[in-house]
């Protein structure tokens, strides 16, 4: 569904990504692991069009999206929930969700998506008219995911959904991620510091190190890999 071929990204003279290739089939949850600065966020930002690559190609549903502007990529059904949530703190929860439908002209579908978002995150409905800036970290993460779902995506990229969130809410959010994947059939690419949690819910994992893919394989196999256990699972 999403194919990345030989992706190279540089910030000035510094190479952030080199020769990164992976393919994510429809329907699953795939995770991208790696330490700080390995290039995980850069990979997501490049796929969603915020960063232009120096080389390589990105295909989504068979279409070359490498040079498309971000709003066209969202329109194609690929949504990115960024690190740090980036909700519009100066707008109400309702307006945040409404902006998620910017590229979604179908009002019946929008209403259905809205109902779905409220069904998985009832907290958002309770706080509909509050400014997003007054929500807790966990609630903002729910809003960021809800906002992305309003755009009717077929593919969701989640960057560090557990970052800065109370442990109890992390559990809830990961349950919802699984639900979104299974009930809505949305393919998910997950970037997560909490490698153990990410390997639990994903079927396949890629490991990035210093801007290139170190290894990849089924999550269960990677969990058993002694090198990874030492580096990312702290065992």
């Amino acid at each position: 569904m999403l194919t990345v071929e030989n992706l190279a990204v540089a910030y000035g003279a510094i190479n952030a990504l080199q020769d990164v290739s992976f393919a994510i089939p429809r329907g699953g949850i795939v995770t991208l692991l790696g330490s700080n600065g390995a290039g995980k966020t850069t990979t997501l930002r490049t796929i969603s069009g915020l960063v232009k690559p120096r080389g390589g190609k990105i295909f989504f549903d068979g279409e070359d999206i490498t040079r498309l502007p971000p709003h066209r990529i969202v329109q194609a059904g690929l949504c990115h929930v960024p690190e740090g949530r980036m909700v519009f703190t100066n707008l109400t929860v309702a307006d945040n969700l409404r902006l998620g439908t910017w590229r979604q002209p179908d009002t019946a579908r929008t209403a259905a998506n809205r109902d779905y978002v409220f069904s998985i995150f009832p907290r958002l409905q309770e706080r509909l008219h509050q400014l997003a800036g007054t929500l807790s970290g966990g609630e903002q993460q729910m809003l960021a995911i809800g906002r992305a779902l309003m755009g009717n995506p077929s593919f969701l990229m989640l960057d560090e959904p557990s970052l800065g969130i109370a442990p109890k809410l992390v559990q809830t959010i990961f349950e919802k991620i699984i639900e979104i994947n299974q009930r809505r059939g949305i393919t998910i690419l997950l970037v997560e510091q909490n490698a153990s949690l990410a390997l639990d819910i994903s079927s396949h994992a890629y490991v990035l190190e210093s801007g290139h893919i170190l290894t990849h394989g089924p999550s269960t196999a990677l969990r058993a890999d002694p090198r990874l256990r030492a580096a990312y699972l702290g065992e």
Binding site: P69, P70, H71, P82, M86, F88, L91, R98, L99
Partner: protein, 296 residues
Amino acid sequence: MEQILQQLLNGISLGAIYALIALGYTMVYGVLRFINFAHADVFMVGAFLAFFLGQNLPANSIASTILVLLAAMTGCALLGTLIERLAYRPLRSAPTLNVLITAIGVSLLLEYSGQLFLGANPRTFPPVYPSAQLTLGGVILSGNQLLVIGVTAALVLLLQLVIYQTKIGAAMRAVSLNPDAARLVGINVNAVIAFTFALGSALAGAGGVLYAINYPSIDPLMGLMPGLKAFVCAILGGIGNIPGAALGGLILGLVETFVGGSEASTWKDAVAFGLLILILLFRPAGLLGKPLPEKV
């Protein structure tokens, strides 16, 4: 007492024009974080568009006035988007300083091509608007003041509706807070920026017409002083803050009028700019602006 009321009225109507121009500065700053120095010249172009159209319309007519206002606003909206498209958009990823210098360049281009094609001599603005006055208990409300205050109030209300009640308004606020996040929800940020320029420039166009009706001698450099004053208003109210720009306009208009009407009348500009310095000393983010942590 009557005198105070009269000056209050004069001040509000002067401040209203400043506010119209200041709104454009502050809106563009909100989405792009730079001062569009060419904005004052868009104001001048608005006055000239109304000048050329107004000559061919019946004088002393409300209909003519509405027509020149709409024409100047439309023309300026187009000019504003054109400037954004040709001069600022290619610099989207360049440092702010480059954009700022470009803005000064665009400003000079408009001023001096104005002098080249329209001549440097002042021209008399045609009397499109009927002159009349109303006396209310010793206070004279001129037709011009009624027009300025009425049009400004209507436009500011309309702007408020657009920004706080519509989806494009929410998108403008989203872009202003975090352009990348706006891109990620599928907002076409370039389109929102173009729309912001159109809106701000239309307000400047309306300001140009109102100014020309009140001070009916127009020339290609006429935007300089009102533009500078409006810029001060935008800073005074808190740059990027829309109600702040309107408030800044009113304050400056009132201060100028009261000082101008007193014995120290020659000090009016000094007092206006002194006030700016004073407010910035105690509230560096402006009256309604929120101090922002420096981005690292």
